[in-house]
């Protein structure tokens, strides 16, 4: 973790406010495995870290550059495949490449592919870019099962991370060692991507996203700005791929198929594409939904789909957007004005949604249960799913909850407006 100390070190004008979050993040990552020591928890945290890097890389396109890609997984996949091949070459030819450096090569492979694809796909943003990304994504995913020599066909390519040279005595036999390696890379990549957004190119990516034509009239070629962002995004996606290869020691077609590309769009948008930390929230939430919610319900993807559509419709800023909406009331010291209205609306709404979920679960259970398995447990209550009563109660709870929420929503809106009302400072009153 010495890296974070080094890079800000060069910056003379850095304030503690800028260093502190990163130091806290480093500390946080360092102590997490002490709290959650089980191997499965560490596996899930590794998965989260990889997803975070990938989502941040994706957001360099979607959020920062305004490019909607439906095929970004190919860059992570390429990084993964190259890394696992390199892992095998290291073993076979006894090359002096310590494992912790492997993600760099993953990143370079992602970068190389991004240069090729970006050379023709970044000409336009918007729909045309989205369609090219979809086509190229399909193409690479389809060839991955045809070109077995490189992609390994259906079973993919596997390697063994422990055959490489020990790195300062660490052989990466244990999950926890892999965790610290992944966490270090997470911190480095996130910091680099954050710094990237502060560079002239990163700023111009925003400008091109907002108004590509205007950007051309201040001297920048929108296409080249997009191309640079695209390549950088491919590089970091490749790093995520390299880490994937180290973690799972196997890379398969699923790493670059369209489902994976779609998932990363979902993750980034749910978390909030408009803010740097949005994809982080999205990645953590999605990994949890995927690994934990799926243990409890078979129709979790239905909930996920509904959540996604609702987010696009009502909170296009994602979760990060919702959080950041509260910055103004917080600055004005008016958050307390929102507490009661929130309780009055969100609590019944949550109960109503739980009721709806209950209805779905009961119907699903009824249709899929085995004879004699009428009993089901929902929200810690066990009941007979074939009796009409649970369904009626769930429906009733849903209806009442949503009805109350609708009734109290206007009050919430008013409270919200009151909490946000700022009297704009007159023009003459400048900031220091």
């Amino acid at each position: 973790m010495s890296e974070i100390a080094r890079i800000p070190g060069r910056n003379a004008g850095l304030t503690p406010g800028m260093v502190l979050p990163w130091a806290l993040a480093a500390l946080f990552l360092a102590v997490m495995p002490l709290i959650f020591a089980s191997n499965s928890a560490i596996t899930i945290m590794n998965q989260m870290a990889i997803t975070i890097i990938f989502a941040l890389a994706y957001n360099m396109l979607l959020g920062q550059g305004g490019m909607l890609s439906f095929g970004h997984a190919i860059f992570m996949g390429m990084g993964g495949f190259m890394s696992v091949h390199i892992m095998n070459w290291v073993e076979r030819y006894e090359l002096p490449l310590p494992l912790p450096l492997l993600p760099v090569f993953g990143g370079l492979s992602g970068l190389a592919l991004a240069i090729v694809v970006g050379s023709f796909s970044t000409r336009k943003a918007g729909t045309v870019f989205a369609m090219i990304s979809l086509g190229v994504g399909e193409l690479v995913a389809a060839s991955s099962v045809i070109i077995v020599a490189f992609f390994g066909g259906e079973e993919g390519v596997s390697g063994d991370r422990t055959y490489g040279l020990p790195f300062f005595g660490i052989e990466f036999l244990r999950q926890i060692e892999v965790y610290y390696l992944t966490a270090a890379w997470l911190l480095i990549s996130a910091l680099l991507m954050y710094l990237w957004s502060r560079t002239p190119l990163g700023r111009m990516a925003n400008a091109v996203r907002d108004n590509p034509e205007r950007a051309e009239f201040v001297g920048y070629s929108a296409r080249w700005v997009r191309f640079h962002s695209f390549c950088a995004s491919g590089f970091f996606a490749g790093i995520a791929g390299g880490l994937f290869a180290i973690n799972y020691e196997i890379v398969t077609e699923e790493n670059l198929n369209l489902a994976q590309s779609g998932a990363i769009l979902l993750i980034t948008f749910l978390g909030g594409a408009g803010f740097f930390f949005g994809p982080i929230i999205g990645a953590v939430l999605f990994t949890l939904l995927q690994t934990v919610l799926s243990l409890h319900t078979d129709i979790w993807q239905l909930y996920l789909g509904a959540l996604f559509v609702m987010t696009v419709m009502y909170f296009p800023g994602g979760l990060a957007g919702v959080l950041m909406m509260h910055v103004v009331p917080a600055r004005l010291g008016r958050l307390h004005m929102l507490v009661m209205p929130y309780l009055r609306t969100l609590l019944p709404a949550a109960i109503g949604i739980a009721g709806l979920a209950g209805v779905l679960e009961i119907i699903f259970h009824r249709r899929n249960m085995a004879t004699g398995d009428e009993e089901m447990t929902l929200f810690w209550i066990t009941f007979d799913s074939t009796s009409p009563w649970p369904l009626a109660i769930a429906l009733g709870v849903a209806a009442i909850g949503i009805w109350i929420a609708r009734r109290t929503a206007p009050a919430l809106r008013e409270a919200w407006e009151a909490a946000n009302r700022i009297d704009l400072p007159p023009s003459s009153e400048g900031r220091p």
């Binding site: 979050p21 990163w22 806290l24 993040a25 946080f28 997490m32 709290i35 959650f36 089980s38 191997n39 499965s40 928890a41 596996t43 899930i44 998965q47 989260m48 389809a142 099962v145 045809i146 077995v148 066909g153 259906e154 079973e155 993919g156 596997s158 063994d160 422990t162 036999l173 244990r174 999950q175 996130a190 994937f244 799972y248 020691e249 196997i250 398969t252 077609e253 699923e254 790493n255 930390f277 982080i280 929230i281 953590v284 939430l285 949890l288 995927q290 690994t291 934990v292 799926s294 243990l295 409890h296 078979d298 129709i299 979790w300 993807q301 990060a320 899929n368 085995a370 004879t371 398995d373």
Partner: protein, 414 residues
């Protein structure tokens, strides 16, 4: 970055809840297969069969080791190798020592590799891999390991058996081979060519081609070529909607000969083929449902259908997995000494519930058993699939198929 903290705490909570598995004195078997997504139906079928087999064949008889019951713990791998590895880790953390998986050879490859590494790196916490359905020959050849046991006949053995039967059918002079363009489809094609050349050099292979997996909308052009080639029989390894669509296109375009295949039953496919497939569709597989081999087997299926009216015994070998595991645990006298259990499984001979014997070949951990050619029909069906009236009836049988088939496996024993 600071946001991670809050969400992270939520994660912690969720993890601790899910990890708090009930601590009863049971022997847990992790069932890692797709339980959501497009392949969930297949996973749910397998899960029901496992649960029923554990209940019916072990727990009802008082369990093993003097009263320990079998418990099937489902894990949803969404048919993804990555998710499977995560779920494997969760299962191991819960103290589960037996991993059952079957759908997708890709997943099986990832799991067998991961389990092999895990057992090497954690010798006091080993696990056993019970592969009940993944048929990639490599799993018991180049990629074999001591912890992996396959209860299904592999793709080569099935093709060996199938070509034995084609060998006896003098009316077949021309064969068309078509399959999905990936490892399994290619393995089927290669095996078919090899065995046919050995056994019936006079048979002309009039077509041998691959199509993209899961991408073909319309199989008509392929069907036209098959009809045009004058083939007497078609061999395909297709599954899922690729199987259904290929089969229907072939039959719709006037092909009347047999279509030999591996996976064209249950999960709605039997119902969808219905009348059209009668007389043409022939499956290669183990386990005899029709006609029932014994009153016991008959009662078993009937009881299963009573409990799961919308599911089928599509994988009769699951009963073998449970019974043989129970016997191995009894023989080893322990449910934690994985090496002893594995050694007890090696070379085990077992009278299968659905007929014939099963022999777990020690050199590669491949179960050797009777392989049948099963006809899709509604005639003489006691136990149908998809409640459609259609089911699979045994037409021909190869006893102990592949008993002396070669293997490249060099088993490393602990």
């Amino acid at each position: 970055m600071r946001r991670t903290t809050r969400i992270g705490l939520g994660a912690a909570l969720a993890l601790s809840i899910s990890a708090a598995a009930a601590f009863a004195d049971t022997i847990k078997i992790a069932f890692i297969d797709p339980l959501s997504g497009p392949f969930a139906a297949t996973g749910e079928q397998g899960l029901a069969q496992y649960r029923f087999a554990a209940e019916e064949l072990v727990n009802r008889k008082g369990g093993v080791l003097g009263g320990k019951m079998f418990e099937i713990v489902p894990f949803d791998n969404k048919i993804s190798p990555k998710e499977s590895l995560i779920q494997l880790q969760v299962a191991i953390d819960q103290g589960i020592r037996f991993i059952a998986q079957g759908n997708s050879s890709g997943v099986a490859n990832a799991l067998t590799d991961a389990i092999n590494k895990h057992n090497r790196r954690n010798p006091d916490n080993r696990v056993l891999f019970l592969n009940y359905s993944a048929v990639d020959p490599a799993l018991t050849n180049d990629k074999c390991n001591f912890w992996h046991f396959r209860f299904d006949a592999n793709a080569d053995i099935k093709m060996d058996a199938l070509t034995d039967i084609i060998q006896q059918d003098e009316s077949i002079k021309k064969v068309y081979i078509i399959g999905q363009d990936y490892s399994f489809g290619k393995a089927v094609a290669a095996a078919a060519v090899r065995f046919l050349n050995e056994k019936r050099p006079d048979i002309e292979i009039v077509g041998n081609e691959l199509h993209p997996i899961g991408k073909v909308k319309d199989f008509t052009p392929y069907a036209r070529k098959i009809v045009a080639s004058g083939a007497d029989a078609v061999i395909t390894g297709n599954w899922g909607s690729d199987m259904l669509n290929l089969g229907r296109a072939i039959l719709d375009n006037g092909f009347t000969g047999p279509i030999y295949t591996y996976y064209a039953a249950a999960d709605g496919i039997t119902a969808a083929f219905g009348e059209a497939g009668d007389g043409s569709l022939k499956l290669v597989g183990e386990g005899q449902l029709n006609p029932p081999v014994s009153a016991r087997a008959d009662a078993y299926v009937t009881a299963f259908k009573k409990k799961y009216p919308n599911k089928d015994i599509g994988q009769p070998r699951i009963a073998n997995v449970i019974e043989m595991l129970a016997r191995a645990i009894e023989k080893a006298g322990s449910d934690t000494d994985i090496v002893a259990i594995a050694k007890a499984l090696e070379g085990m001979e077992h009278d299968a519930l659905f007929g014939g014997k099963v022999y777990m070949r020690p050199q590669d951990h491949q179960a050797i058993q009777d392989v049948h050619v099963l006809a899709h029909t509604n005639d003489g069906i006691t136990h149908d699939f998809d409640n459609s009236g259609y089911g699979l009836k045994v037409e021909k049988t190869v006893r102990m198929a592949g008993m002396d088939s070669p293997t490249t496996c060099r088993m490393k024993r602990p």
